[in-house]
């Protein structure tokens, strides 16, 4: 890949309509920088986005892209990658998109381990529908649809991923630009499904999970002697009710992507014949 690719090549000429101060700006910048830094360019990159504020990302980035239906971005991304393993596939979504309507697909995407990265912009609220509880909202978080709080525990995406057999689990924070970019880069470089939950604050509707909150409370695992290849340690961290962590929580270094396991290595857009494949009559003979 060309070394001249700059992250701005991944920017489209559309101006984001996110609220001023939205965490998604930082999340997207980190994604673009990580893509450029890992040697990709817009023509070999495929970005899949879901619905909601996070779903707009495909419009603001310049690459091959699709804006899927609500919650279904992961299977679309897997289909793209299986059909053309030469492409760099990145799926982006929000906490509602990924952990509510798309929770089933999340579990199975983790199991499938297609070599793509999945960046979830987690702001713990529904922003685009103007402030309802999301699956990661706190139990007592008061919103228009949950005036007394959801009164049910939030989804723990990291634990869900680990339990489903994830080979790469990370968490980052949109305003810590450098660390965020590094973490997404590691997800891209991982041979398999690289899952990154990004705290991407909603400045309009969420006054609890704010920049200040994350800045003060997040523990950066890089600053500890944490070993991300230790699955037992990862269990402890993802189930820790008292602290939230930034960095790679788990990486299986032996990970074999779906494409490797299934021997997918060709670009399926190629049909090198104008009619049926040469030995197709064998298919008919089988029915004698």
């Amino acid at each position: 890949m060309s070394s001249q690719v700059r992250f701005t090549d991944f920017k489209s000429d559309k101006q984001p309509t996110w609220c001023p101060g939205c965490g998604d700006f930082g999340t997207m910048n980190g994604m673009m920088k990580a893509l450029a830094e890992t040697g990709n360019d817009p023509d070999n990159t495929f970005v899949v986005a879901g619905i909601g504020c996070s779903g707009k990302i495909g419009t603001y980035m310049h690459s091959y892209a699709i804006h899927g239906v609500h919650g279904r971005a992961l299977p679309v991304g897997a289909g793209v990658k299986m059909a053309n393993p030469d492409l760099e596939v990145m799926v982006a979504g929000g906490d509602g998109d990924g952990y509510s309507i798309g929770a089933g697909h999340f579990v199975h995407a983790v199991r499938r381990n297609v070599d793509m990265s999945y960046v979830v912009m987690d702001n713990r609220i529904y922003g685009l529908t103007k402030g309802q509880a999301s699956p990661t909202s706190r139990e007592d978080f008061e919103t228009s649809t949950t005036p007394e709080g959801p009164q049910q525990p939030p989804v723990n995406p990291l634990a869900l991923a680990l339990a489903s057999g994830a080979t790469f689990i990370a968490q980052s924070f949109s305003s810590d630009a450098l660390r965020h970019q590094e973490i997404v880069q590691k997800a891209i470089e991982h041979d398999g499904f690289g899952f990154v939950n990004v705290f991407s604050p909603c400045v309009t509707f969420n006054d609890v999970d704010t920049y200040d909150y994350f800045r003060d409370s997040l523990v950066d695992l890089q600053e500890t002697d944490y070993d991300p290849t230790d699955r037992e340690a990862a269990k402890e961290k993802v189930l820790d009710a008292d602290k939230e962590y930034m960095g790679v929580l788990y990486q299986d270094e032996e990970s074999q992507s779906y494409e490797q396991t299934h021997g997918l290595d060709s670009d399926m857009s190629d049909i090198d014949h104008d009619g049926a494949p040469e030995d197709a009559m064998d298919l008919v003979r089988e029915f004698y």
Binding site: S12, D13, K14, P42, D43, N44, T45, F46, V48, G58, T59, H62, S63, Y64, A65, I66, H67, G68, V69, R72, P75, V76, G77, A78, G79, V80, K81, M82, A83, N84, D86, L87, G104, H105, V107, H108, H262, L264, S266, D267, M268, S269, D270, I271, H273, D274, G275, A276, P277, A280, M281, L283, V284, R285, F287, Y288
Partner: protein, 589 residues
């Protein structure tokens, strides 16, 4: 009527009814006889009644009939269920040693062949072969050379080793010999002639899978559902040989989205499901259409709504396929009319999808999907398959479809409504695809003028297709007849056979069988030329009849069957006679 012969094996699900039936059907096909099979099955894995029926003739057979000449009954219920179809001289083969069969009462006008199936199977090497013993007995009852059975036993058990094949051959011979020795005076009138022809025997689901591979389909994602699962089963293990891949998704929502992703990446891509799955896929269907992604979606219809009768026939999804989804969505809806057409319409579906960058629904139905039929191998002539990928641009031609600043226009406004397509990886082609209304570059817009332009552009593809493609119905019967019978889907074969019954009663009809539901041929002239028009379909409300009434502004009569069973030729001929005489359940203006 061809001198046809009807055979069945019935018992409980789990008794190996299907595989035994298929072995016999294959033996007949390899002996140069035409075969038409049908299945009577319940939605359960074990227990309950299930039967595999084989109709065979030296001439082409196209439907089921109400007649059974030889029945292998593994349970008393098998006899009860088929009593109406048994007749004077029907042969019933059963194992009187089986506890449940000990007291069965074979009517005196029928031939009673009590064969110790299990005991003979054990002699040959294992009780599991008792059905094969019955096949040997059936060969004797029909003077059918048992060597034809050998080759299909080899096909069925070859993978398990020569010893297993030999044991099975032996089991069949023990059955044959038992009948010879113990029923030397039995009235076994049947004699199945053989010919030198070689036929292939396959069902609609298999033909769809084969058509997909022939058409260059490389990617299939699906979720198991009766009666569409055989498409996936067929493709798995075969498509890989042609560079393709099959994914069993977590649900139908994932299946269509996986298929959409692969299609966006440039692969010829397909999913198959049945009605309930189509419901789940419908939201994404809108995205497929709006993003102008070529995709083939197969609906093997079964009896609905909701879970309905999953193992029974119906053509009730037509409205769903035509109108399903919010907003207005251009689409193609094709409905193959025979097992062979399942192959060709699948090939055509891929070409239409890519030429017009539109989703294509392929509507098959249970009666066709699980029905095996024999064909000359040339009916699947692979040399006749053509692949047309439509307007794909590459790095050299992409410049003609870029804005001044170099942005690619995947939704370029064109006269024919079809825009250029760039596969990901093509330099200069990076673009956004979305279900949001968009401009020529695929970028979201709410601009009123662009909205109208894009809607018109997408709809224009349908007009273009009408000009360029042939959507004519298939025609049978007397072209000059005053009575016009119109149908779609798997009823064609039954109607063609019903012609002979109608002919016996001097009722002349012209038949139009419509494989194109949308876009479709304009039948106004045909309707105006006819005295009476009758639309035949397997649903309660006459969904296709509604559509053609709307097209032609003319009322039609209707014959609707929705009891879960496909039409039978003689029954349908009677319905037609009654309806034409004004006695049917027609709806008149």
């Amino acid at each position: 009527m061809p001198a046809d012969f009807n055979w069945a094996i019935g018992g409980e699900a789990g008794d190996g009814i299907d595989s035994t039936g298929k072995i016999f059907a294959q033996a007949l096909s390899r002996a140069g006889r035409h075969v038409f099979t049908s299945k009577d099955f319940a939605s359960r894995i074990r227990g309950g009644y299930t039967a595999y029926k084989v109709r065979t003739s030296t001439e082409k057979v196209r439907s089921v009939v109400d007649r059974l000449d030889v029945l292998v009954a593994l349970t008393p219920r098998t006899i009860e269920e088929n009593m109406d179809e048994l007749h004077d001289g029907s042969v019933i083969i059963y194992d009187g040693d089986r506890t449940t069969m000990a007291d069965v009462d074979i009517p005196e006008n029928m031939v009673d062949l009590d064969v110790p199936l299990k005991a003979l199977a054990e002699d040959a090497g294992g009780a599991i072969m008792r059905n094969v013993v019955a096949l040997g007995a059936a060969c004797e009852a029909t003077s059918f050379d048992i060597e034809h059975l050998d080759s299909s036993l080899k096909k069925r058990f070859g993978d398990k080793g020569q010893a297993i094949v030999e044991n099975n051959k032996q089991a069949a011979r023990l059955g044959q010999e038992y009948v010879q020795e113990n029923y030397p005076d039995a009235d076994l009138d049947y004699e199945l002639e053989t010919t030198d022809n070689d036929y292939v025997l396959l069902n609609g689901d298999e033909a769809i899978g084969m058509g997909a591979i022939a058409a260059g389909c490389k990617y299939y994602a699906g979720y198991p559902i009766t009666p569409a699962t055989d498409v996936m089963t067929y493709l798995k293990g075969r498509i890989e040989h042609f560079g393709g891949h099959v994914v069993q998704a977590e649900d139908e929502l994932a299946a269509i989205n996986l298929a959409l992703g692969a299609a966006r990446a440039g692969a010829r891509s397909m999913t198959a499901t049945s009605g309930p799955g189509i419901d789940l896929m419908t939201e994404t269907f809108g995205l497929v259409a709006t993003s102008e992604t070529p995709l083939v979606i197969v609906d093997v219809m079964r009896s609905g709504p909701s879970t309905g009768m999953p193992t029974k026939q119906e053509q009730g999804d037509l409205n769903m396929l035509l109108y399903g989804g919010h907003g207005e969505i251009p689409r193609f809806v094709l409905a193959p009319t025979t097992v062979n057409e399942c192959f060709w319409k699948t090939v055509e579906a891929f070409n239409l999808a890519e030429k017009y960058q539109t989703p294509v629904y392929l509507a098959a139905d249970l009666a066709m999907a699980v029905t095996e039929q024999t064909f000359e191998p040339e009916a699947f002539d692979m040399d006749a398959v053509e692949i047309d990928r439509g307007k794909v641009v590459d790095e050299d031609t992409i410049e003609d479809h870029q804005t001044e600043s170099g942005g690619f226009k995947p939704h370029e406004i064109t006269d024919d409504g079809v825009s250029p397509r760039a596969f990901p990886g093509t330099a200069g082609g990076a673009h956004m695809s979305t279900g949001l209304e968009h401009d020529e570059q695929g970028r979201r817009t709410e601009d009123t003028e662009m909205r109208v332009k894009q809607v018109d552009k997408r709809n224009r593809k349908v007009e273009t297709a009408k000009e360029r493609e042939d959507f004519s119905p298939r025609e049978f019967g007397d072209p000059d007849a005053d009575n016009l019978i119109v149908t779609w889907g798997s009823n064609e074969g039954t109607l063609v056979e019903a012609l002979e019954y109608l002919d016996d009663d001097d009722v002349d009809v012209r038949i139009l069988s419509c494989p194109y539901i949308f876009p479709r041929a304009d039948l106004t002239e045909e309707f105006e030329a006819a005295d009476q028009v009758v639309v035949v379909e397997c649903n309660a409300t006459g969904q296709f009849a509604d559509v053609v009434e709307h097209d032609t502004l003319q009322r039609v009569k209707r014959i609707n069957k929705y009891d879960g069973v496909q039409f039978k030729a003689d029954e349908l001929a009677n319905d037609i006679k009654e309806t034409l005489a004004g006695e049917g359940q027609e709806v008149e203006a």
